[in-house]
């Protein structure tokens, strides 16, 4: 289980996340929803310590993965990120590497040399991301020749190849058409078996149909979290109801 407790994040002393406590159970897809600027991406990026790379970012509180503190002083953020993978809003394959090299980049650039191991990991990751059939004959091609949806699935394959325990997805479908979106959602359901999946989305239909749990964030604060069905059919807070029915945000 991934969990955060009283998580606060500031950028240059400006508070963006104001103490969020949330749990993301295993074998569940959790969605984080909320209006633009509410801090959903900021929250997501705290889970794999991406804020360590931003000068002026200050993270306080606790994030644990299976009861181990991710922000402990003896934890190496580089190793944390191998356990907690991330997919971004805009597909970002490495344009100077081939499709195959992209998939194995996380392993190879971390020092894995064994060709058989790399090959096997690449095939498995591409199959898990439901893109194997589309790229198996063009593994040496440039990834920029793929469509947007294929590029995003390639990025998911790249994240899966390092065998993470958690997959963080930051609005992964916002640049994709409905068919490509459906493919990624299907993929999420299959990944749920073995990964904790956390998805940030501004698309409420997506949260409703593709997640098990939903958290609603507003102005850096957690308003409500629970089973997706409960949130969308009988929210406890009127603010949640207003947001999901489109009255604001």
């Amino acid at each position: 289980m991934l969990a955060c407790k009283d998580l606060k994040i500031e950028f240059d002393r400006k508070s963006v996340l104001k103490g969020v406590t949330l749990e993301f159970p295993a074998q569940r897809i959790s969605a984080i929803i909320g209006p633009s600027g509410c801090g959903k991406s900021t929250l997501l990026r705290a889970f794999n310590r991406m804020h360590d790379l931003t000068p002026g970012a200050q993270v306080t509180g606790s994030v644990t993965l299976n009861d181990r503190e991710i922000y402990a002083s003896d934890e190496d953020p580089v190793l944390i990120r191998r356990r907690i993978g991330m997919v971004f809003q805009k597909a970002n394959p490495f344009p100077t590497l081939s499709i195959y090299e992209n998939v194995i980049s996380g392993l190879r650039l971390s020092g894995v040399r064994n060709r058989a191991v790399l090959q096997e990991a690449a095939e498995k990751a591409l199959m898990d991301s439901a893109i194997w059939d589309e790229v198996k004959d063009r593994l040496k091609s440039n990834p920029m020749s793929l469509s947007g949806g294929q590029q995003q699935r390639l990025c998911i394959a790249r994240a899966l190849a390092v065998d993470p325990e958690v997959l963080l997805m930051d609005e992964p479908c916002s640049a994709l058409d409905p068919i490509a979106t459906a493919k990624i959602e299907e993929l999420m359901f299959r990944l749920r078996e073995r990964l904790i999946v956390v998805i940030v989305t501004h698309n409420m239909q997506q949260a409703a149909r593709a997640s098990d749990r939903t958290a609603f964030l507003w102005m850096g604060e957690l308003i409500e979290a629970g089973e997706t069905e409960a949130i969308f059919t009988s929210p406890k807070k009127s603010m949640t109801e207003d947001y999901i029915t489109g009255r604001f945000g």
């Binding site: 794999n48 490495f94 100077t96 980049s105 650039l109 971390s110």
Partner: protein, 283 residues
């Protein structure tokens, strides 16, 4: 109304004509100098120019073999110092340094790149020639490396700046160590631009004359010893051009043509690399 309109149109045509003349004036020196150079230098072009050593004044013939090979040696050593240091500094500034430190270093490089080359020669004289007590090819290389470093830093940094931040972020999110992101992702994405900048930096220093006067010093004989004075093309052109001998003037023109053709070739090569890279990205 229509009269003022006509006047304005006339005014427009005149201004356009003035600008066209200015544009022509700007490129005339290039063509005039190329024409002159080819006319004067082509006569000196022969296998002997590349294979023979200069003869004593008064004897007709000879070539610039010592200066050509000397230039290659001095520029080669300068490149081996200047490119790695410049590249390393640029990577540090773009990938690792805090923004305040990076901008301080960048400002220093901007200042350095504007320092006159003769001052860099003086610096190399102080740092290398005086301790060694004699002129040397190596001191010339040091002077050229000083000139080259800020140029390499600036172009490399500009090219690294063009690499999208999202690629570095993707690397971090995969748990790739920072130095590997710098070497295998950022540098690789910027490689064609960096290579182009390096070629231009090499061609820039290949023509430097002033710092050679009191570092490499020149040498009428064949020498490939980095510790000894050495002939270089720009310095030999200078020496021969101001000499009173007709045949040395001819060699100076030949040398100038070699130098310009080399620089032109390097510029074309760098353009080709960029074009080729652009094409491979689009296909």
């Amino acid at each position: 109304m229509s009269q003022s309109h006509q006047l304005r149109k006339l005014h427009g045509h005149i201004m356009e004509g003035v600008c066209l003349l200015a544009a022509l004036a700007a490129v005339i020196p290039l063509f005039a100098f190329l024409w002159h150079l080819v006319a004067m230098g082509a006569g000196a072009f022969s296998p002997a120019l590349f294979t023979q050593l200069p003869l004593p004044p008064g004897e007709v013939g000879g070539g610039l073999r010592n200066a050509i090979q000397g230039s290659l040696l001095v520029v080669g050593i300068a490149t081996m110092i200047g490119i790695p240091v410049g590249l390393g500094a640029a990577v540090f500034m773009s990938e690792f340094a805090k923004p305040s430190i990076a901008s301080g270093l960048r400002f220093s490089c901007d200042v350095l790149s504007g320092v006159p080359s003769i001052v860099m020669g003086l610096l190399a004289f102080q740092m290398v020639v005086r301790p060694m007590h004699h002129f040397s090819a190596f001191s010339g290389s040091v002077a050229l490396a000083f000139i080259m470093m800020p140029v390499v830093v600036i172009t490399t940094q500009e090219m690294l700046r063009l690499v999208p931040h999202s690629l570095r972020e993707a690397g971090h999110a995969l748990g790739i160590p920072a130095w590997r992101i710098a070497s295998s992702i950022s540098l690789r994405a910027a490689a064609p631009g960096i290579l182009t900048g390096a070629i231009l930096a090499i061609s820039r220093i290949a023509g430097e004359t002033a710092p050679m006067l009191f570092t490499a010093f020149g040498n009428p004989f064949m020498s490939m010893d980095p510790k000894a004075p050495i002939a270089t093309l720009p310095h030999t052109i200078f020496t021969y051009a101001i000499s009173p001998y007709e045949d040395w003037h001819r060699l100076a023109w030949g040398g100038a043509l070699i130098l310009v053709l080399g620089i032109l070739g390097a510029t074309l090569l760098s353009r080709f690399i960029l074009w080729w890279h652009q094409r491979s990205l689009n296909s």
